[in-house]
């Protein structure tokens, strides 16, 4: 019985290794089958990016530009309408980290200064955009300009303070002074997978009754598309 079982394993094994394909091509599977290239009717890709808050002269909430950043990871889809115009949508995760400048003029969230303070928002974002393509091209994204509105759902807002001498970090959750939503407009200039973006928040970050100065509305950064 044992011998029969061993034989049963060996026989299919011999057939499996009788010919080893070095090349094996079904022509209909690779030749002229591409329907979803960058300049085809439908195209979507993942991307990630990093932006920085630049500060805003009309709002008095001071942030530290270097310590204030926006990390983005998302998926962007476009439907080609013509060679120079497309419509699309974008779904992304946004981490927006606002480093609060610690000085004597600080008022948000109070006048108490710490070694470090930051407001960290975790957002899901949805955006619709118009795309204008410039220049003739083959099956590539080419040179393009995107613009359109976005809407964020802030699913997590945390305020954190740090005291290095005491090795203390305090995290405040369920902030009642931040809005749970955000909206604004975005624009991008891209060459294939390399994109320069800017966003401007139209909505207020804080609930009005608290009368806090708004933090930076403008974010500028770079994105890289993840596609061949």
């Amino acid at each position: 019985m044992k011998k029969i079982i061993i034989l049963m394993f060996l026989v299919p094994s011999v057939n499996l290794f009788s010919q080893e394909p070095q090349i094996d091509k079904d022509v209909k599977d690779y030749a002229y089958v591409s329907k979803d290239g960058p300049n085809r009717k439908d195209f979507g890709h993942f991307y990630f990016g990093l932006g920085c808050m630049t500060g805003n002269p009309t709002d008095s909430g001071k942030i530290i530009p270097v310590a204030s950043f926006n990390f983005i990871s998302g998926y962007r889809y476009k439907r080609k309408i013509s060679n120079c115009y497309a419509l699309g949508y974008d779904i992304s995760y946004n981490l927006k980290n606002y480093g609060i400048l610690q000085d004597t003029l600080k008022v948000f969230p109070n006048k108490i200064t710490h070694d470090k303070e930051k407001l960290v928002n975790n957002n899901f974002e949805f955006e619709v955009f118009n795309r204008i393509n410039i220049g003739k091209r083959g099956d590539i994204l080419g040179f393009y300009i995107d613009f359109g509105p976005y809407f964020d759902y802030i699913f997590s807002a945390r305020f954190k303070t740090y005291e290095y001498a005491e090795n203390e970090k305090t995290v405040f959750k369920d902030l009642d002074y931040t809005n749970w939503f955000e909206y604004g407009i975005k624009a991008r200039i891209g060459i294939d997978r390399y994109i320069l973006f800017a966003s401007w928040r139209l909505s207020d970050m804080f609930v009005k009754k608290y009368n806090y100065p708004e933090l930076s509305r403008l974010i500028i950064g770079l994105q890289i598309g993840l596609f061949k």
């Binding site: 079904d26 002269p57 083959g138």
Partner: protein
């Protein structure tokens, strides 16, 4: 204050990007096509060099209107309006100009202008540089890159491309004027002419070394060791590209082709291609791109155009680049020197209108000479000049051959012929076909039908002296072609046992053909003719009757 300055700087940067792009968009490059060449007087003896006239005469190709220069009054009218008129094409009956939108509107109103086309081209040189280290095993590859084409048979017969003129189009040739690897070419005065079409000057011995590397695969000599086969050929060197990967103008390629024709080129070796940055894959049909049309025109003038398939085999593009899609261009794929089959990056055929490509193949990895040192380089950029050198030797041996006859003979000489596929074409060209050393292959397998399966079995009565072994790897090649000879499937298998292959007969319905190649022998099987199949003997191959 600093914050305000930063925002203003960012806004200025974005505005600059728009400004630059709008300024550069004002002046564009165009082809302007003329309706006729009336009243033009043409004297071939004054225009063409003697070698060009000789080539036309041998090929039975007469001078026609495409050889006449342009109507000078038309040219002057355009020159007065355009910002810059930088090229005149006799073949296209057109001029290349740079002008703005209001100038182009004025030009279009001329009664002798039949069409206007924007020139915007992105090209790639087909080089895939991988390793620049000097390794101990380079000597083996250096020998094999010519020996795989049986280069020793040419050398034994003192055949080195002597008297054949090859034009090379590339991104620059630094070091060719100084590198000892090209010393014999220089000392014997076999660089006939050079021209830099990018800068409009004669000096091509600058810029990107890609062209130097390509030339070394045709005619480089390391002491007495040949890097290519045509070490005795003559050369026309043209710089048509600005820098490696990716930008160039189509007009430079066009200009170089007409210049090569005028200066007697018999072979053009072009390791350049245009891909997804300008076209869709469905444009690879041999008549969409201007360079493809130019390659076909060059063939009509009697020149054998040899061009690279491209290095998109493992990218999303996958397919050949243009002008490899041109019907009359000999398109060269790359193979791996160790495995002796398709190298992963080599682009696949067929063309978008389902014509067979590539035509043949050669090593896609080679030892090349850069401007300062030897390197190991990868790309169909280097399989192309290896075949160009082969073609020059074949032409030296068979002087009476016309370009398309040479084209067909190179295909017939290849090691898999008459078998073909969309990775290898007909295989690697073999010198024995031209030197008379060709051995007629004996059958190495047979077909047997058992029930609903056709089996391919090794013939045990093989004898070493009649079996052609090209390499240590024992591969079985097979394809299934439809009734229009378009392949539906192709594969390369390792031989493992007596039964080489089994195919269900249902896969051969509707007049499909199963074609198998093993150890130099090719045979076909059709389901309708279970007891008979086509065989190709050595006599049929030499007569070209297959």
């Amino acid at each position: 204050m600093i914050r305000v300055f930063r925002v203003r700087l960012i806004i200025l940067l974005i505005a600059d990007i728009f400004f630059v792009s709008s300024v550069s968009a004002q002046n564009q490059n165009y082809w302007i096509f003329f309706k006729d060449k009336n009243d033009v007087i043409f004297n071939p003896s004054a225009y063409f060099c003697s070698k060009a006239i000789e080539r036309r005469h041998k090929s039975g190709i007469s001078f026609d209107s495409t050889d006449y220069p342009l109507n000078e009054s038309y040219v002057e009218s355009i020159r007065k309006i355009a910002e810059n008129l930088y090229y005149q094409s006799s073949w296209l009956n057109a001029v290349a100009v740079k002008c703005n939108s209001s100038q182009i509107k004025e030009i279009v109103s001329f009664p002798f202008v039949t069409g206007v086309k924007r020139i915007e081209m992105v090209s790639k040189t087909c080089a895939y540089k991988y390793d620049t280290r000097v390794k101990d095993d380079w000597n083996d590859l250096l020998k094999k890159q010519t020996e795989r084409m049986q280069g020793s048979l040419f050398r034994k017969n003192n055949i080195n491309g002597h008297g054949v003129r090859i034009a090379i189009f590339d991104a620059g040739f630094p070091g060719v004027d100084k590198n000892p690897i090209f010393e014999s070419i220089r000392e014997e005065g076999r660089i006939i002419k050079t021209y830099d079409f990018v800068r409009g000057k004669e000096n091509v011995y600058r810029h990107n070394q890609h062209g130097t590397m390509v030339l070394s695969c045709i005619a480089g000599m390391i002491d007495t060791v040949s890097m290519g086969l045509a070490t005795g050929a003559e050369f026309l060197l043209a710089r048509t590209e600005t820098f490696t990967e990716p930008y160039s103008e189509e007009v430079n390629w066009m200009a170089a082709v007409e210049w090569a024709d005028k200066n007697g080129a018999q072979i053009i070796s072009s390791s350049l291609g245009y891909n997804y940055k300008r076209y869709f894959d469905t444009d690879m049909n041999g008549h969409t791109s201007l360079v493809s049309k130019a390659a076909n025109l060059a063939a009509k003038k009697g020149i054998l155009v040899i061009t690279a398939m491209g290095n998109e085999g493992d990218s999303r593009w996958t397919m050949l680049v243009t002008p490899a899609d041109a019907d009359s261009a000999l398109s060269i794929a790359g193979i791996d020197p160790e495995k002796d089959i398709h190298i992963s990056f080599s682009s696949f055929g067929p063309t978008a209108d389902w014509r067979m490509k590539p035509n043949v193949c050669a090593y896609g990895e080679a030892i090349v000479a850069g401007s300062h040192k030897l390197e190991k380089a990868y790309g169909t950029s280097f399989s192309t000049p290896l075949v160009a050198g082969f073609a020059a030797c074949a032409l030296q041996l068979r002087k009476g051959l016309k370009n398309m006859e040479l084209f067909k003979d190179i295909e017939r000489s290849a090691h898999l012929y008459p078998y073909y596929d969309y990775a290898h074409g007909y295989g690697v060209p073999q010198a024995s076909f031209f030197t008379g050393d060709y051995k007629i292959p004996e059958p190495t397998f047979s077909f047997e039908v058992h029930g609903d399966t056709v089996t391919v079995k090794i013939k045990h009565e093989l004898t070493p002296e009649t079996t052609i072994i090209y390499n240590k790897n024992e591969y079985i090649y097979y394809h299934i072609a439809n009734k229009n000879n378009v392949l539906e499937k192709f594969a390369v298998l390792n031989e493992w046992d007596e039964t080489l292959l089994e195919i269900p007969l249902e896969k051969l319905s509707d007049d499909k053909v199963l074609r198998v190649h093993y150890k130099g022998y090719t045979a076909s099987f059709k389901a309708a003719d279970k007891d008979k199949y086509q065989k190709v003997s050595g006599e049929e191959r030499l007569a070209g009757n297959y």
